[in-house]
Symmetry: C2
Subunit: 548 residues, 2 copies
């Protein structure tokens, strides 16, 4: 059997290694148009910030190391320019020798990845405007910083790559502006969760511009002016585009392979394209959204690696299935960890799925043990059966742990009731006896069981004050320091004695700082004849962050 | 409804709070024989080590705070000395006023906890011999350290409480000896995993004595001699006993409630004792082992808290079930994190369950990003269907995350095949594209699919060298630095050219440093006509640690 692989990094190199482990006799040829294979795409921003200092570290395997270990014919600087599926050959351009030849295959695996989006925009082709995808891109940016000594940078796009680049440029001393077209950075997050990130970016000295896009770049001498849609201008020495990526489908399209509705190569659960001898994996393909079943693009390394392994399995005659991608992701944004799994509200609305949500702010570990820090968890779940649909977590410590637990729960089709029961590890340096994930399960289940009704921060401005009371149950001191307009204050610990101060015929909107005291207050009110009582999920804390 | 609760900490206080949230009208009386309620048992060792500096921090809720918020009648310094189930009354000793009275109940919840074991041993009753269960115990130890200025301490028992105390005494400058009767510390771990902890304790300057027990204590002046079963003696200034705990069943037994085979109060899944109006929770009860269904004692705070909540639910007419305890636990031992979930080999052997196991040593996060540190994961699973039975993890960073993911997978009845597919969050500071949990899933599934056979470190001495070859596939340098006696060395990357050096008619036992190269070597050999090929799970690394 002769297997040809296009692309030598996450999906391609993983497929090659697995193929060899399963089949010593196969002929395996791996084509990579760049000079490097098996490199650490995800580490690239950190080389720019000098967090990763050695160039060698960016490469996980060299062509020599990999061919020695796995007996693979690795051809770098070799671009596959065409597939001829009828003859089962690929056309290869040997870049160094500028020579073109063909290679036949029995099975072909495509893992060409995705390209950074670079919209046709006046002035975009300039030596101080960069995109970041591979090692040469990284060196270009790093060299520019080292030799041209720029003082200011503009990062266009507030996705995780954009923000990682922004952080790393800031860390090496540049003045950084981030321009994001949407109303919030980090698309996997909903607005209020992203607002925590906005605050942090600003605290760290990033100039963050939201709801504005770039119209053009004007260059003069060594300086560039970025002109935004709003008319606003920013002077800068360099620009990095992080607007997103587009599946690299050129070869596939040209070969007549089916392309999906979202613009990625279409594959079945065995990673087979519309041509059964051609497999495709990684950023170039469309996957099934594990939550809502729709087709989607989720360009992440974990899925790419796993799909590569699965393609290899199937080529070797094992029926190995890929069940879809749930979009579990994490990013370090300065001191924050930002993580998500499953669907957010935007996606659920688009898919027409009825959901409820809670926001809580538990500590990373027992509050009496040093360095406990709060995180914010948003859990989204189905209204009818409590099935977990998604989660977003932003905080400083222990965030990746909780998202991975919830990601596992989602994979197991668990409900919020199951989260209540999870038996997670507890000692003071690591968690609380009721782990934040249990706590999210409690808070969510309480809603579904009808023990509490909640309202959300963005509903406050719609409250009809003629029919309603907004009740702040925090302490007098907390109330004085800032409260929701029109609210009255009765601390929860004095509520039972002051029930007569609250009108029974009105809708009572209760809030506290994080949601816990509000919940207790609501329970008191509900059992004392108040008929319409709701608790602000996530409390004043999320309201304040989201509205400031 | 009138509910009486015995014990005001993890199980008792949680039950009280939940009861009130569910029922504003119930009369709730909470009896606690000590002065404090709702304290942080798990934080106590860290007060001794001055990691937690303020006394107030040890108390999560004061009687005043709790009764204000939850309208609960909290009576501290009040010991329940007797239950009369027929009359549904308890007898209470008001310690401060030395007065005894009775209190009736409709429903009674017992959460008296467990007592430290203090065997009747010559010399054990001495003012410099301590146990640690509650706040007064903690102050006694701390005061002794502060005012008597001891130089040396002996900790008897290498469970997590013993080791936490040992660490904290060491941190405040004492010379610490730990004496453990078994061949290894930390009973939830198997021997080879504990051997990593042994090494670390010794590196940190703890004098660790294994397989030896205390016979007696001899006191002279201000010094104590600890005499061991072996005849060995240790001079010390103080002793802390951490031999384990015993369910406090005095009240229950005296009231005729059923006691289980393991010596804990017997309850059903609703936390009801043999008397339907009496519930019991926490360290005092026997629980069902979630893995093997047997009755067991698992005295941990997470289960106690959850059981308290469930008892309250049931008392309020909700059918809330407790499904058993899987023993998920974690402890910080100096720089190490030691965690476990599910059954270990000892328990599985006792239960007669057929299992297989793998050991791997993945990095906490991407190796190219700073501060990646290896951890050791042992995964135990059923031979027939791959169901996960247990896991043990020892390492420096990211250990609690992986144990929680596996604990969740166990709760979801997942198999090792499911671990392969988990979509966990990845960015370089947090994990690898194939997370350690995926990796454990791969390694385990490969065994079950027959792609690899493994042998274990403790089988090496039983290998019949007349019929076998032990093949070290590491580099020449690694081999020179230490290898398994009788092994020959062919580096994996040179294996394909040297197959003729290995006899085809013998059993080939392959090993590398951690298991990965050994696996690749085995795959090469298996596909080249070698019939009996096995890989050392966990590699030379675990062999060396376990046998040194
Ligand atoms: C800066 C950056 C940071 C990232 N951080 C993270 C992160 O933290 N977490 C995460 O999960 N993901 C991250 N990603 C995404 C992750 O790297 C990708 O999802 C993953 O690498 C996709 O794997 P792939 O095999 O599909 O494509 P790639 O890894 O991009 O590999 C494709 C390769 O194919 C080659 N190629 C393309 N066309 C041809 C051709 N015709 N002939 C020969 N060779 C060809 C390309 O040169 C390229 O080397 C990051 C990406 C970038 C760029
Ligand atoms: C030093 C230490 C460290 C620990 N660390 C951890 C850890 O890191 N992680 C973990 O999960 N678990 C840990 N634990 C265990 C955890 O604290 C217990 O599992 C948990 O507290 C059990 O809850 P409980 O309600 O059953 O008993 P307890 O919390 O012990 O409460 C029982 C209370 O009942 C009172 N009482 C008993 N009898 C009577 C009576 N007749 N009348 C009135 N009052 C009575 C006692 O005074 C006591 O205050 C630790 C325990 C100790 C001692
Ligand atoms: C380097 C690279 C070629 C390695 O591919 P790989 O060999 O499949 O992956 P790993 O080195 O992680 O090893 C995984 C294999 O070793 C096995 N393994 C790992 N540790 C083991 C152990 N201790 N004992 C036994 N087997 C072990 C696994 O089971 C798996 O084998 P399988 O797929 O046959 O089941 C590929 O991952 C790569 O190119 N990575 C860099 C590019 C990249 O991913 N970029 C994006 C992220 S920055
Ligand atoms: C302090 C103590 C009395 C608190 O009990 P509790 O009120 O049940 O527990 P918590 O304060 O953790 O709050 C949990 C409750 O608040 C709810 N909650 C938490 N955060 C919330 C939020 N942001 N919004 C809404 N509800 C929230 C949970 O749903 C849960 O309520 P429920 O049980 O009715 O569903 C008890 O846990 C205790 O005594 N702890 C110390 C002793 C101990 O555990 N020791 C051993 C470990 S060191």
């Amino acid at each position: 059997m002769k297997v040809v692989i296009v692309g030598g990094v996450a999906g391609g190199a993983s497929a090659a290694a697995r193929l060899r482990r399963l089949n010593e006799d196969a002929e395996i040829i791996l084509f990579e148009k760049g000079e490097y294979i098996s490199y650490a795409n995800c580490g690239l921003p950190y080389y720019i910030g000098e967090v990763i200092k050695e160039r060698e570290k960016l490469v996980v395997q060299t062509p020599e190391g990999m061919s020695k270990r796995f007996n693979i014919d690795i051809r770098t600087s070799s671009e596959v320019t065409k597939i001829n599926p009828d003859e089962k050959i690929v056309v290869v351009h040997d870049i160094k020798n500028d020579r073109t030849y063909t290679e036949s295959y029995d099975k072909l695996i495509l893992s060409p990845g995705a390209e950074p989006i670079k919209p046709p925009m006046p002035g975009i082709d300039s030596k101080n405007i960069f995109t970041l995808r591979n090692i040469p891109d990284t060196f270009r940016i790093k060299d520019y910083v080292d030799y041209n000594n720029p003082k200011k940078a503009v990062v266009v796009g507030g996705g995780f790559i954009g923000l990682e680049v922004a952080e790393n440029l800031k860390e090496v001393g540049l003045d950084v502006t981030v321009v994001e077209l949407a109303d919030h950075v980090m698309a996997p997050l909903d607005y209020e969760m992203a607002s925590i990130v906005h605050q942090h970016l600003r605290d760290k000295g990033i100039n963050l511009i939201l709801k504005d896009g770039v119209k053009e770049f004007q260059h003069k001498d060594n300086s560039t002016t970025v002109v935004l849609n709003s008319g606003k201008t920013i002077d800068t020495d360099m620009v990095v585009l992080g607007i997103g990526v587009r599946p690299d489908i050129r070869l596939a399209k040209d070969a007549g392979l089916e392309i999906g509705e979202r613009g990625g190569i279409k594959v079945n659960e065995y990673m087979q394209t519309s041509n059964p001898d051609i497999y495709a994996v990684g950023d170039a393909i469309e996957v099934k959204d594990y939550i809502n079943g729709s087709n989607t693009l989720i360009p992440l390394a974990g899925p790419a690696n796993k799909q590569g392994r699965i393609a290899a399995d199937n080529i070797c005659g094992r029926k190995s299935k890929y069940d879809g991608t749930q979009g579990t992701s994490v990013a370090k944004i300065f001191d924050l960890t930002v993580a998500a799994t499953g669907n957010n509200e935007t996606i659920l609305k688009r898919a027409g799925i009825d959901y409820e949500k809670v926001i809580i702010h538990p500590n990373s570990h027992a509050s009496y043990y040093p360095d406990a820090l709060p995180m914010t968890i948003k859990l989204i779940f189905k209204k009818d059966d409590g099935k977990i649909l998604g989660a977003q977590i932003v905080g400083f410590d222990g965030v990746d742990k909780r998202i991975d637990v919830i990601a596992t729960a989602i994979r197991a089709n668990m409900t919020v009731y199951d989260l209540e029961e999870l038996e997670l590890s507890y000692a003071p340096p690591y968690s609380s006896a009721k782990d934040p994930v249990n706590m999210a399960g409690f808070a969510a289940s309480n809603i579904l069981r009808g023990d509490i009704s909640v309202f959300h921060w963005d509903e406050i401005e719609k409250i009809d004050m003629s029919k309603s009371v907004i009740l702040d149950v925090r302490t007098d001191m907390e109330y004085q320091l800032g409260n929701i307009k029109g609210s009255i204050n009765i601390p929860v610990d004095e509520l039972r004695e002051n029930l007569d101060k609250i009108p029974k015929d009105k809708d009572i909107y209760v809030y506290c700082q994080v949601g816990l005291r509000g919940y207790i207050a609501c329970r008191i009110l509900m059992q004392n004849g108040f008929k319409s009582v709701k608790n602000l999920s996530g409390g004043y804390k999320i309201y304040e962050t989201a509205t400031s």
